[in-house]
Symmetry: C2
DNA sequence: ATGTGACTTTCAGTCCGTG
DNA sequence: ACACGGACTGAAAGTCACA
């Protein structure tokens, strides 16, 4: 479990939390619409889960976002 | 399993395959270095797997890429 | 309304092989 | 060198009680 992975995971956690709050949704409301458990949303936002891309996709849909997963060259911005 | 998820998955599959080929790596060599199973790399590149972000992170590291997972507003570029 | 631990179930990911 | 399958194991995902 590298440091760069922990960074990735916590950045993702923050993105979810911020997007959710912008919509004025509770974790529970997000969980209900995304069809995941309320406590799993909590785990995601605390950065302690290792989610699959399917779960992330479902959550991003509810948040009105497109999930973008890219491999970027380290020289890129 | 929505269509937009299938698109996401196959785009990711293509990115991995192309990056790997650019480095002249076989699926097996990539699998060995990323510490994932050779048959799972095959599944990833065929877009029939639902990987966790940890696996994607490990693979992107071997490919010399940064894994970027973002929630983007649908109006964004 | 959220965090957390303990628990069960399901599927991601492995390991064996074949053409 | 890769697609594909079957059987297996550990981790992701789902459930619940409580603070």
């Amino acid at each position: 479990m590298t440091k760069s992975f922990d960074n990735l995971r916590s950045e993702l956690a923050n993105e979810i939390k911020q997007s959710r709050r912008l919509l004025g949704l509770t974790q529970e409301a997000l969980a209900l619409q995304a069809e995941v458990d309320r406590t799993y949303v909590s785990q995601l936002e605390r950065g302690i889960a290792n989610p699959s891309i399917l779960i992330l996709h479902r959550i991003s849909m509810v948040l009105g976002m497109n999930l973008s997963i890219r491999l970027r060259g380290t020289s890129d911005q």
